[in-house]
Symmetry: C2
Subunit: 489 residues, 2 copies
């Protein structure tokens, strides 16, 4: 007889009832060939003694196995393993772990996709973090948002369920966005021009997938937001890099390319370009709009940081002008609240939104519809708008504070242009101090910061990182700058 | 002079400051060619009178335009529109809406993807809803979950940020899943075998994208979960439909295909198959595992409903046996909590998970990491496990109640097999009562229910729908059945 007491492990504090654990144990033994079809199992009394459980538990386990067709009872022979299972070849007998560990590698081959740029620093439980431009969750109206969420959970079923059924996202939130985007960005749109996505990233991903075929040419900035690059490359696109200077992307260079061959997509971040924080000038916007209307190529306008502007007002987006239906405008509410609330949007002609919905449902059926409804309520009550005013003021102060600190403490080490808006500053580190070494020393001191590798490719070593200032309060900021200073050798 | 008072609209209650609205208005007029480069603008005093705002507001607007390079000031000539803008052709003069409405159609062409099966009933603000198998959010531990979320928001920055950095999802949640999936499903895995996704759908989508090339052959059930079908088709795959009977997918039919040509993927729902609710028998599981090991084709085992079993225990998943690294196991916590909490997981060999991460970040950087951490805390405290016990008991009762109600009230109209588990019953409607007509009448009476079109394709008209019972309390269930009864003619 098999040593069932060692082969079948029982954990009385597990969520699975003991009888079921026993039944599962038998199934593994049968499947592994340790018990063969036709073999007799010990009677319930004997098994109960072996496993040190109540006899009723064993009976329940046998009932379970019977229900599932693993065993049968034969008069005068007792419980036997069913004969009608496929033939099983016994395997070598070393059954200390009855359930095999998951295979380390697949038995099949599969495709590969562009990997994240390798970084030298692994994120861990550091005490302090410099993010690359995220808001301060501590000042976000999370309390209000979660209270609203709780309220919606308790709504009558029909009303609550109604919010689940809009594939384009909560109707209330789209209605609020129509008003908000018109007032702040001059967008003249209706709810059918809006698709709510998971952050801006999913909107970029879907737009790219709709317009790109393998081999397609996408114009992006040099440098560019690396997650957009990765999305385009994952669809087999070829990136053509356009220089970015203090006035944004070089529109003349774009024109030159159009004259040769119309690109399949242009990806542009007109405000506070990622990573360099420069803004596309009014002049270049005008010129670019002409090119877009003339050559009719699709444009993703990623305006993720529009609401955060400290020097004068932001310039109206390309999407607010006559672009002949060629601009897909993408934004995010993640930046307005907290990194964890990943709610973004795509604004596009209705025919494009309709097609994007076919993709949306296959990627992630829908978002957290109650979170979207809760956010819509905060818009309707003016809470989001109030929060934006408050945080623009605060982040403006933090930007100025960081600039002053860097000038005072790290002159000659870090140089930068004061960004007109956004939540990060493009910190260019003097090349005699390699960023990976600084970041490694900082990590050892409890500060997680970028080693700059996400933006450096091949010979293009910027030795620079995005210094997110929005989520650091004055005390943290002083500490962080001091830690960097102490990490320079 | 242009009628600025009608061309520039001011909304004093909007979030955008009035001076900025005025500046934006001018930009539109310049861009639209209504004001030409070199043209003079009225002085601030005159403009203030025209627009009926304070003169200081106009000065601020002009300052803004000056900062953005739209205007310059020339001594003794006053404010003029900058000359160095690209040449603008004036457009026809009918400027009642200064900002053009978003183009109705794109100026470019793009790809199309499989659409949702067309349904005749539009979801709206119905009082009652029959969903296709979702839990009752009213009994979910949402209060605990949101309380935990709130607690995490207030954590120290470093600790909180640490949870953002795991692309595979919250480490705590993956650790909890290692224990939970071992105790309930016999999965022998580590955290590196787990990727947290947005619901099961995103995991299906990523797994499919990794293994499918255009023209690939995917074996699916007839009928099958339509959102999985759509995901496979969106990657250009060809679906080959395998019959599903009361013991699940016909494994002999799968073998027959393997003998001709190895399929590129098998998608299988072994417990409470969607839509029919049948369970793959132990026999067929054994046989299928042999095929998988022999032919080495990738398998997506979608076990979304495993935790909800009422008749005996569930059968251990394929993933718990020796499958040679060919099974990708996908599950969801959405079913354990609420439709809005879209947290699912993919279990696979480590090399597959690593590659899936390259896709994950391009689709949706990461999930709501604080929600994942909050859920991990509920697992650690045993709240999820307690909730599962409670809900299995409750849904068991609701299943039995619905079965009794249907037998009493709708015999001869709706037939069904009692499902062994899950949250829905496959309600097959007598074909003399076309489901679209019933659903239309029910909708008019305030009940939203499926018209069955999601599962009927071409000549295959099942005239059936998934009757979700989990989210209906006894009163609602009686009412819903009565409404269906009254919708039959």
């Amino acid at each position: 007889m098999l040593p069932f007491q060692t082969l079948i492990s029982i954990n009385k504090s597990a969520a699975t009832p003991v009888y079921q654990q026993i039944a599962n144990g038998f199934i593994v033994l049968i499947r592994d060939g340790l018990i063969k079809p036709g073999a007799s199992l010990p009677g319930s009394r004997q098994m109960a003694l072996l496993l040190q459980v109540h006899r009723k538990t064993v009976i329940a386990a046998y009932d379970e196995l019977f229900t599932q067709d693993w065993i049968t009872t034969i008069p005068r022979k007792g419980v036997i393993v069913a004969e009608n299972l496929p033939e099983i070849k016994p395997r070598s007998f070393k059954a200390t772990t009855p359930i095999p560990p998951y295979a380390g590698n697949t038995g099949f081959t599969f495709q590969s996709f562009p990997a994240m740029p390798a970084t030298t620093i692994k994120p861990g439980k550091h005490r302090l973090v410099i993010n690359d431009g995220f808001p301060d969750i501590r000042i976000a109206p999370m309390e209000l948002l979660l209270r609203e969420y709780r309220r919606l959970v308790q709504q009558p079923a029909g009303k609550r369920a109604a919010s689940f059924t809009n594939l384009a996202g909560s109707l209330s939130l789209r209605e609020e966005l129509v008003t908000f985007l018109s007032a702040t960005r001059g967008l003249n749109i209706g709810v059918k021009n809006i698709l709510i996505s998971r952050g801006a990233q999913m909107a970029i991903n879907m737009a790219a997938r709709l317009v790109l075929k393998p081999g397609a040419v996408v114009l992006v900035g040099e440098p560019n937001y690396f997650l957009a690059d990765m999305a385009f490359q994952s669809f087999g696109a070829k990136l053509v890099r356009i220089p970015v200077d203090e006035n944004g992307m070089d529109v003349d260079a774009i024109e030159k390319i159009c004259k040769q061959k119309k690109p399949d997509l242009l990806y542009i971040i007109p405000h506070h370009h990622h990573p360099t924080t420069v803004t596309l000038s009014a002049n270049r916007r005008m010129k670019l709009l002409e090119l877009i209307r003339k050559y009719k190529f699709p444009v993703i306008e990623d305006d993720y940081d529009y609401d955060f502007h400290y020097a004068g007002g932001p310039i109206l987006p390309l999407a607010s002008a006559d672009h002949g239906g060629n601009v897909i405008y993408i934004g995010s509410l993640t930046k307005s609240l907290a990194a964890t609330i990943r709610i973004g949007y795509m604004i596009a002609p209705e025919n494009f939104i309709r097609e994007a919905l076919h993709l949306r449902i296959t990627i992630d059926i829908r978002g957290d519809s109650l979170m979207e409804e809760a956010l819509a309520a905060l818009f309707a009550q003016g809470d989001v708008q109030r929060h934006l005013k408050k945080s623009v003021k605060l982040y403006h102060e933090r930007r100025d504070m960081l600039a002053a600190l860097l000038q005072r403490e790290l002159e000659g080490v870090i140089s930068f242009h004061l960004p007109a808006g956004g939540m990060a500053l493009w910190a260019q580190v003097n090349k005699q101090y390699p960023l990976p070494a600084i970041a490694a020393r900082a990590a050892a001191k409890g500060l997680f910061m970028s080693d700059g590798s996400t933006y450096s490719r091949g010979s293009n070593n910027y030795n620079a990182f995005r210094f997110g200032f929005a989520a650091l309060n004055p005390k943290e900021m002083e500490e962080v700058v001091q830690l960097i200073k102490n990490s320079i050798e």
